[in-house]
Amino acid sequence: MTGLTLLIPLALLLGLCGLAAFFWALRSGQFDDMDGAALRILIDEEEQG
């Protein structure tokens, strides 16, 4: 029982962190261009110099 007082808030906190991270990603436009994001890793960004 005593473990619960620590574990339950911890579980909820971790879940909330995940939710907050998702909201942040949504707001910062990371879901705007799903197909483009998959292709951009293929672009060689070695600029001259």
């Binding site: 909820l12 879940g15 949504l26 261009d33 197909d35």
Partner: protein, 709 residues
């Protein structure tokens, strides 16, 4: 309709959006972004590959044609995005995505707590876990349930009922009752059920909305724009760039060859030919001279024109037709989707059942608390989870299958209406035919002359030249080395090939009734005439056969003359109505509708716009005018007409799966409702029953993945 540009916070730069449909790969993204960044005046360019769009930050001095030319120089065709409607649409999906994420998070955590209770936790632990569940569930219901509550309230206020009414009542009642249970240390709390229900329903709704957005942005990137603006001559002879909506009657526009008109007007000086394809779908260019009336959206082909503006913006002919379309589309907005039709009898049945359970248990001697608990269990078990998910899941899977076959379906109700259609009307030019000239007697030319023709044709933007180039390149002809190429305005191309003068252009004496021909001369020999015609779309005859087999009677409804329509009608062996204006087409559809037919309208031109909006359901080819594509429920890509029959076939299959899903949902209710009425449904049983029925209907919908094959 304003050009989508806004002033950035600094006030020094401006952002303009361009649709670039030609992007295909990672290299295109890199070429566009790095290439545009080097153009003076452009500060940054960012590609959105999903939407085939590029956002360009630039200094305000840089005007639209310059940016378009810069993108063209990199090797892409681009059109400025004028309509902001395509951009704000995703907001609804965003809100739904957030609500779904919150509901998903909450249902997982509540489930975590509920599992403990189900496996036997009692006393203080159970109360604590119920209390924690309440803390998570109540804000979640308030946040994620908003769209259901709002829609239910709207329906109730007008005295109707829809799918959201039983959902809202069920969720609110169950949450309130569970809260009461928690506060009085009761054994059962249904927070997990309420939140899970919201999560499943939101997933269904999100799928529906994502499908709409995807198809809309697909269509938006196809749109051929009318001109974004024009150069206007001032009183002092200098010229300045005006955006289309800033043009005013009385101004003189300079329209160079190869540009579209930005407003209606009268030609002040110059003679040329104009391409009316965007307005009428007619592929033969029309000759115009001073005093002729020209419309916004037409393409000036040969020589520069000076046009005095008579109507701009909302006063143009295009805007008139748009208004006619708006009126025609009102009938369709009364269409009730199948899920809502099911809800019309489902909702009252569920509410009566729950009420009977409550009254019945009271009469049988149970306390009001227990009776209310059973009534709530009935509500939550009958909540149309499977129904709310069944229809959108089937429709999005089918729409995805159709998209891979080149049909963009704009929303779920399109598939429902396509399955109901029992009459098909086709426009001729651009719909049954390709709407562009195709050379028919190229093979009469010797091979080495064909390569000279290609060299001449590829240097010109005239539609007949473009048709020649496409046909010759498809034959694998390589262009010959032709020097001193130049375009003679109003005639065609001239050049020299191995020191012989060659030319490709309008036949010297124009034979009557033969406007679609060009003459090719080499070294003063007798000119070789090349003829063109507007060919039928591939698979046109087979497609009409398939449609007839599926019970759709087909006929042609064309604005063209009887002589022009006759060969097409004869080749396809169907009847035709000719010389039909936009209003006549509307009337014809109204007559058929009155006779009880559900009309599928397939058309492309601006003149088809009202008919497309009035038909029970409508389709347009991707080569259609932007008005046609906006008015149609579905757009098909490519030259072939076959996607029309495929769409009908998939629509029928989708409705079969939807009906199966309804049967599954009803069977599930037949099993679960007696349990609920008997008071045997614990939160564990409710959770299991709900998730299993949802998984079954989604699994059934996934069978549609190969439906378009």
């Amino acid at each position: 309709m304003t050009v989508q540009s806004r002033i950035a916070p600094g006030g020094l730069t401006q952002q303009t959006l361009f649709a670039v449909p030609g992007m295909r790969c990672a290299a295109c993204i890199a070429t566009l972004e790095s290439g545009l960044a080097l153009v003076p005046g452009i500060i940054a360019a960012r590609v959105n590959f999903t939407a085939r769009r590029v956002a360009i930050d630039h200094v305000p001095e840089l005007i639209l044609p310059d940016i378009k030319a810069a993108i063209g120089a990199i090797g892409f065709e681009a059109e400025p995005i004028r309509d902001s409607s395509a951009l704000i649409d995703t907001r609804e999906s965003r809100a739904l995505l957030r609500a779904t994420a919150v509901a998903g998070f909450a249902s997982m955590n509540i489930m975590l707590l509920s599992v403990t209770v189900w496996s036997g936790a009692g006393g203080a632990t159970r109360d604590l876990f119920h209390f924690l569940s309440a803390i998570i569930a109540i804000p979640t219901v308030a946040y994620s349930g908003r769209s259901f509550f709002r829609s239910a309230w709207r329906a109730l206020r007008t005295g109707r009922t829809n799918m959201d009414v039983p959902i809202s009542i069920g969720v609110i009642l169950v949450t309130a009752l569970s809260l009461f249970e928690t506060l009085t240390s009761g054994p059962h709390a249904y927070f997990d059920g309420a939140v899970m229900l919201l999560f499943f329903l939101l997933v269904g709704r999100l799928l529906d909305s994502v499908m709409r957005d995807r198809a809309r942005s697909g269509v938006a990137s196809l749109l051929k724009q009318t001109a974004p603006g024009a150069r206007v001559i001032n009183a002092d002879g200098a010229s300045a760039w005006f955006e289309a909506e800033a043009l005013e009657p009385g101004q003189i526009m300079l329209v160079p060859a190869g540009e579209r008109l930005a407003a209606d007007g009268i030609i002040e000086s110059g003679t040329s030919s104009v391409d009316l394809a965007l307005l009428t779908g007619e592929s033969t260019p029309a000759q115009v001279c001073a005093g002729a009336v020209v419309h916004a959206g037409t393409l000036n082909l040969e020589r520069p024109l000076q046009v005095r503006v008579t109507a701009a913006g909302p006063d143009t002919t295009i805007a008139d037709i748009a208004r006619l379309m708006e009126q025609a589309g009102q009938g369709r907005s009364r269409y009730v989707r199948i899920a809502d039709r099911a809800a019309r009898w489902y909702a009252p049945a569920v509410h009566t059942l729950a009420l009977l359970a409550f009254v019945g248990w009271l009469l049988a001697g149970a306390g009001w608390h227990q009776a209310l608990l059973i009534a709530a269990a009935v509500l939550i078990i009958t909540c149309p989870c499977a129904l709310g998910l069944a229809v959108p899941a089937a429709q999005i899977v089918a729409a995805g299958a159709l998209m891979r076959r080149g049909v963009l379906v704009k929303d779920g109700s399109t598939l429902e209406r396509l399955a109901e259609a029992d009459r098909a009307l086709f426009d001729k030019t651009g719909t049954l035919t390709l709407g562009r000239p195709e050379p028919i007697d190229l093979n009469t030319l010797p091979a080495e002359r064909r390569s000279v023709v290609l060299a001449l044709a590829q240097a010109s933007r005239h539609p007949l030249s473009c048709a020649l180039r496409a046909a010759l390149e498809a034959q694998g002809v390589r262009p010959a080395r032709v020097e001193d190429l130049y375009e003679v305005p109003g005639f065609g191309m001239e050049g020299s090939f191995e020191n012989h003068a060659v030319s490709l252009g309008r036949p010297m004496r124009c034979q009557g009734g033969e406007p679609m021909a060009v003459a090719f001369t080499l070294n003063g020999d007798a000119p070789a005439l090349l003829h063109f015609r507007d060919a039928l779309r591939p698979d046109a005859k087979e497609t009409l056969g398939h449609l007839e087999a599926q019970g759709l009677a087909c006929s042609i409804i064309s604005g063209d003359s009887a002589t022009a329509v006759k060969p097409v009608a004869k080749a396809l062996n169907i009847t035709a109505q000719t010389r039909m204006g936009p209003q006549d087409k509307l009337d014809a559809i109204a007559r058929l509708t009155q006779a009880g037919c559900k009309v599928l309208m397939v058309g492309d031109g601006l003149n088809d716009g009202p008919a497309l909006a009035a038909g029970h359901v409508s389709m347009a080819p991707a080569s259609a005018s932007d008005v046609g594509q906006n008015a149609a429920d579905a757009v098909f890509l490519g030259d072939s007409l076959a996607p029309v029959a495929t769409a009908i076939l998939v629509a029928h299959r989708t409705m079969r799966v939807v009906r199966q899903n309804f049967v599954i949902a009803i069977a599930y209710n037949a099993l679960a409702v007696p349990l609920a009425l008997a008071g045997l449904v614990t939160p564990l049983v409710a959770a299991l029953a709900m998730s299993s029925s949802s998984i079954i209907v989604v699994g059934n919908a996934l069978r549609l993945r190969g439906a378009a094959r």
